[in-house]
């Protein structure tokens, strides 16, 4: 019944009353939300609000203390990461997690892991199918590198890329898994103005050309408000607002969360 409503409204991913506590620390406190197919959902909140924890809970890196997560009308709460990835959710990391000792191409090849299927025995015996599959995987990986404009860096070690390039490589690796939903965790952190522009354009291309659903955590408000269709605001583990970028920006609770309660009572910058 519930699932019918979900498909009717085009919701691909939803989380209900999700909580996560670490000992005495409440990182998430009954957060609910959803994202529709093909939508870009922005997630904002002060540092430590629980945004990354929400991503970790969705992708299976952390098991929620309470609540449930549904993806395409399937309950995915507590599934291991590789199963969640298989079902069609990919992500990037706030603190970049590339395979630093591997080349740029190899990083994307790992992203293509599920596209390959040759088993252990055929691998160690190097049966003929191996070469065909390897060629296919390489072609695919190059395609993703071209998409993000890193094809000419394919044979460089990932650790030798600039921060901006590393973030793009993370996106390429995520796309290589052919996900339906991509969780981008502060992709703009450490990027210069020009790189941020490219990123904004690329996020919109991901949505429009690849038909992806995107959840975006970002501290760069201009970037986030520009690309997001809807914004969810989290503060101290709770959802405090949800709506269009303009609705959220004028929400007093949101302003209070970001600038402190004083600001509402006495909105002079000198006070701070």
């Amino acid at each position: 019944m519930h699932q019918h409503i979900q498909t009717a409204t085009g919701i691909v991913l939803s989380f209900q009353q999700v909580s996560k506590t670490f000992g005495g620390l409440v990182a998430l406190d009954g957060v609910s939300g959803y994202v529709r197919a093909g939508e870009i959902l922005g997630i904002i909140g002060p540092n430590g609000a629980g945004k990354t924890t929400l991503f970790n809970v969705i992708c299976g890196a952390l098991r929620p203390t309470a609540g449930e997560i549904n993806f395409r009308s399937q309950r995915i709460t507590g599934l291991p990461c590789h199963r969640v990835a298989e079902l069609g959710i990919a992500r990037t990391f706030q603190n970049i997690r590339l395979f630093r000792q591997m080349t740029v191409l190899e990083n994307v090849l790992v992203g293509c892991h599920r596209k390959g299927s040759v088993g252990l025995l055929a691998t160690v015996l190097r049966l003929p199918g191996i070469h065909r599959e390897e060629r296919y995987l390489r072609d695919a990986a190059y395609g993703y590198l071209e998409m993000v404009g890193l094809a000419d860096r394919a044979d460089v070690l990932a650790s030798n890329l600039t921060t901006g390039q590393q973030r793009l490589l993370e996106v390429a690796r995520a796309l290589a898994a052919e996900p339906q939903v991509v969780l981008l965790d502060e992709p703009g952190a450490g990027l210069n103005t020009r790189e941020t522009r490219t990123l904004a354009e690329f996020i919109i291309r991901m949505q429009q050309e690849l038909g992806l659903t995107i959840m975006l955590i970002e501290h760069d408000m201009r970037l986030l408000m520009e690309v997001s269709e809807r914004v969810l605001v989290i503060d101290r583990g709770r959802k405090i607002a949800e709506g269009s970028p303009s609705q959220v920006q004028s929400n007093p609770q949101v302003i209070a969360a970001y600038l402190g309660d004083d600001f509402i009572a006495n909105p002079s910058p000198a006070q701070r």
Partner: protein
């Protein structure tokens, strides 16, 4: 945005001359012990081969899956004792006993690895340490089966029916053949989609898992493979000496294997082979010297420790990285450091 373009041709690493020289040198080293006609040298070479087979497996586990085993000598011992018991007490032919040893160690490795490798961190090291102790106690105490401290004698030579490898040169060739196959298979594994997944999970389990790599399954896979290789080496050992006793399969040898892998270079297939050669020769030199000057015999642990320390400080990628340092003169080699 459909990915279509073909990659450019792979860059050729290193010069052909360097490679040719390397292979020639290797061939010379392999042939030398037979050519010398020196039985003692041949025995050492056989031991290097046997140790290298275990070290390659342990190298896959440490260098690719990022896990440490402190009990690989136990798998080695399980292989040796299975061969010894089945050939002497049940009259099973050597290859059948060897296969039984492989199956037994694989089962033990699965039972040990399946619960532990789901956890993050070095739980496997603790569990394998425990396994090593338990197996050692069984070898010593289950006298009816293992002969206790005295061990088991009368193991037949390796062979199939009429074809018996009862001379040292023949046995040496057999060991080299097994080692070559091991190197080839390990090399195929490392340079594959699975090998890539392993290197990836070694760097970041989370990122690998989110790329769809079943981290626990791959770690278990490599652990089982490494245990099976140790078992094969153990069976070879039993046929070489025709005698087994508990002593060589204790914790000390597990540590020695670790040093072989780290000193040689865990992140390559040839590294552990180099490490096995170095430590086996070093151990033999110390033992020989110890026959004349008794206190030298106790220096092995100190010397192995010194080797390990020196390698970690000066050649963190292991001895094998010396070859890629030579090769690095060529401008295209991308990923040696």
């Amino acid at each position: 945005m459909k990915p279509t373009r073909r990659p450019p041709p792979q860059a050729e690493h290193g010069s052909i001359v360097f490679r040719a020289l390397g292979w020639l040198l290797l061939a010379a080293v392999v042939v030398a012990p037979i050519a010398s006609g020196n039985g003692y040298l041949l025995t050492i070479a056989i031991f290097i081969g046997i140790h290298a087979i275990i070290a390659i497996g342990l190298g896959l586990l440490m260098g690719y899956a990022g896990q440490v085993s402190l009990g690989h000598a136990a798998f080695y011992g399980l292989g040796a004792y299975t061969t010894a018991i089945l050939t002497t007490k049940a009259g099973i032919p050597p290859l059948g006993a060897m296969a039984a040893g492989i199956v037994l160690t694989a089962v033990v490795a699965v039972l040990l690895g399946a619960p532990t490798l789901r956890l993050h961190g070095h739980y496997l090291a603790m569990f394998t340490l425990g396994l090593g102790i338990i197996v050692q106690i069984i070898f010593n105490q289950a006298r009816g089966l293992t002969g206790g401290f005295g061990g088991l004698m009368g193991i037949p030579p390796l062979g199939v029916g009429y074809w018996q490898l009862d001379t040292k040169p023949e046995f040496y060739i057999a060991v080299i053949a097994v080692l070559t196959v091991t190197i080839l298979l390990a090399n195929n594994l490392v340079h594959s989609r699975i090998g890539r997944a392993l290197r990836a999970l070694h760097e970041s389990e989370l990122a690998a898992a989110l790329s769809g790599v079943d981290v626990a399954r791959y770690k278990l896979l490599v652990f089982v493979i490494s245990a099976m290789l140790a078992s094969v080496a153990g069976s070879l050992y039993a046929h070489l000496l025709r005698f087994v006793s508990p002593d060589p399969f204790g914790f000390a040898f597990s540590v020695e294997l670790l040093i072989m892998v780290v000193a040689g270079g865990a992140r390559s297939v040839w590294g552990p082979v180099a490490g096995a050669a170095l430590l086996t020769i070093l151990g033999e030199v110390i033992a020989k010297t110890g026959e004349q000057i008794p206190w030298v015999a106790d220096l092995d642990v100190i010397l192995f420790g010194a080797v390990l320390t020196a390698v970690v400080i000066f050649l963190p990628q292991g001895l094998i990285s010396l070859t890629s340092r030579l090769r690095r003169r060529s401008p295209t080699a991308p990923s040696t450091v």
